[in-house]
């Protein structure tokens, strides 16, 4: 991981009413691994700074990436996420630093991925990486969202290796009754699978215990919790 660098916003689009993906062009391209994150730092004219971490949604590439996608959920009163959603325009420059993290990363081997709400972002990078390298047979992804409006990457995420669980409201045609993630949704993990669980603290706690109940050894459960970090 390098120090701070400037990145230019070259694209943005909404994933949901509350989540937007920003495509950043890095001034100093870096290789990243699926699941890593970047820090975004905002600086006011008087030197005041605010920084937050956001997972990279785009997959690793063969050479260093000069563009990365960060998906940012807008949090109530979020100083950084609110600014990114409301004020940032194409062509703006942001200070970023990364990629960071060496634990919540997937490169190979069977993996059971579980993302709750905005926690889908780092596991989406893993799914994209698996698909891009022709290894989606290694991956099973379970996404938990409150309603269809909360599903990120909806046009891309569906596939035989992906299950979407709706906890409050489901789209027409979904037979599973709405409700929290259960063992039935998770199914039997593949032999030797590592579980990657990402979401809010409450979701991560429940889902990580579910992984253990499903038979994943506790030392093979990797957890990333999103706090209310604005």
């Amino acid at each position: 991981m390098g120090g701070w660098q400037t990145a230019t916003v070259v694209g943005m689009h909404d994933e949901t009413p509350r989540a937007r993906t920003f495509r950043l062009r890095l001034s100093r391209p870096e290789s990243h691994r699926a699941g890593q994150h970047y820090v975004v730092r905002l600086t006011a004219p008087d030197g005041y700074t605010a920084q937050r971490s956001y997972s990279v949604a785009s997959p690793p590439t063969d050479s260093a990436s000069d563009e990365i996608d960060l998906t940012v959920e807008r949090l109530e009163g979020g100083e950084v996420s609110g600014f990114l959603h409301d004020a940032v325009e194409i062509g703006d420059e942001l200070e970023v630093r990364g990629p960071i993290g060496g634990w919540f990363v997937w490169e190979d081997g069977p993996a059971l991925l579980v993302g709750g709400g905005s926690g889908v972002v780092p596991v989406m990078a893993m799914l994209r990486h698996a698909r891009a390298t022709g290894r989606s047979d290694l991956i099973r992804l379970v996404v938990s969202v409150r309603s269809p409006d909360d599903l990120y990457y909806r046009d891309e995420i569906t596939g035989p290796e992906v299950t979407v669980v709706y906890t409050r409201a489901a789209p027409p045609g979904v037979e599973r009754p709405v409700g929290r993630l259960t063992l039935d949704d998770v199914g039997a993990p593949a032999e030797g699978a590592t579980a990657y669980v990402c979401g809010s603290a409450g979701f991560a706690d429940a889902a990580s215990r579910l992984m253990v109940d499903a038979g994943v050894p506790v030392e093979r459960v990797r957890v990333e919790r999103f706090g209310p970090t604005g």
Partner: protein, 203 residues
């Protein structure tokens, strides 16, 4: 020097508390939970804490034994590398000085590895856990430390970023060299002073 971000003025600076290190915000009533492993359910009947490595008397305390040691409290602030801080916290347990006094570090001990029942580790200079600056605690704000915050007992080293304050702590291993712990191997700083913004390796 940081460059300005177009259009960003930030929250009103009138609200900013001088107890907040640079780049931190006041989490107020929230106490975010951040850990990388499954939250363990530890039984105090079998819980132990061990000081080992470069010590004259490797020592293990049971839950009752460690509670029989002189009580010590920390009143003050904590700072997480993910940029939240919590001001005016109160933790009660035992000072690491008391534990080290029993185990007697050898003269060549320079660093410690804090170890957890989950396998989590974090490295610290020995100098950062002596002199009334580090504790093993079981109460927070007058109640038992909740499991998701490291209960039944965790380290606190509040003058450093809070990942140094190992949850579910199981012991300290004294070493004659520095060695990277869990987050330190994964890009985070070896010391982690929030006032110097030592967040990542290289800071």
């Amino acid at each position: 020097m940081a460059r300005f971000t177009r259009g960003f003025s930030g929250r009103s600076r009138a609200e900013r508390d001088p107890r907040l290190p640079p780049g931190q915000y006041d989490a107020r009533d929230d106490w975010p939970v951040l850990n990388a492993e499954v939250t363990p359910d530890l039984d105090t009947a079998t819980w132990t804490f061990t000081v080992h490595g470069l010590v004259r008397n490797p020592t293990t305390w049971s839950w009752d034994e460690i509670h029989a040691l002189p009580e010590s409290s920390y009143e003050g602030d904590i700072h997480c590398v993910t940029t939240w801080s919590k001001l005016g916290m109160s933790f009660t347990g035992v000072s690491v000085d008391t534990l080290l006094a029993a185990a007697e570090p050898l003269p060549d001990a320079t660093h410690v590895m804090a170890e957890s029942h989950t396998g989590y580790t974090t490295n610290l200079p020995l100098a950062d856990v002596v002199g009334g600056r580090a504790w093993v605690v079981w109460d927070v704000d007058s109640g038992p430390l909740p499991r998701d915050h490291g209960g039944p007992a965790r380290m606190i080293v509040p003058h450093l970023y809070f990942w140094k304050s190992a949850k579910w702590v199981s012991g300290l291993r004294l070493m004659d060299h520095d060695e990277r712990g869990f987050w330190e191997r994964n890009g985070y700083h070896d010391r982690g002073d929030p006032w110097l913004e030592q967040r990542y390796q290289g800071d």
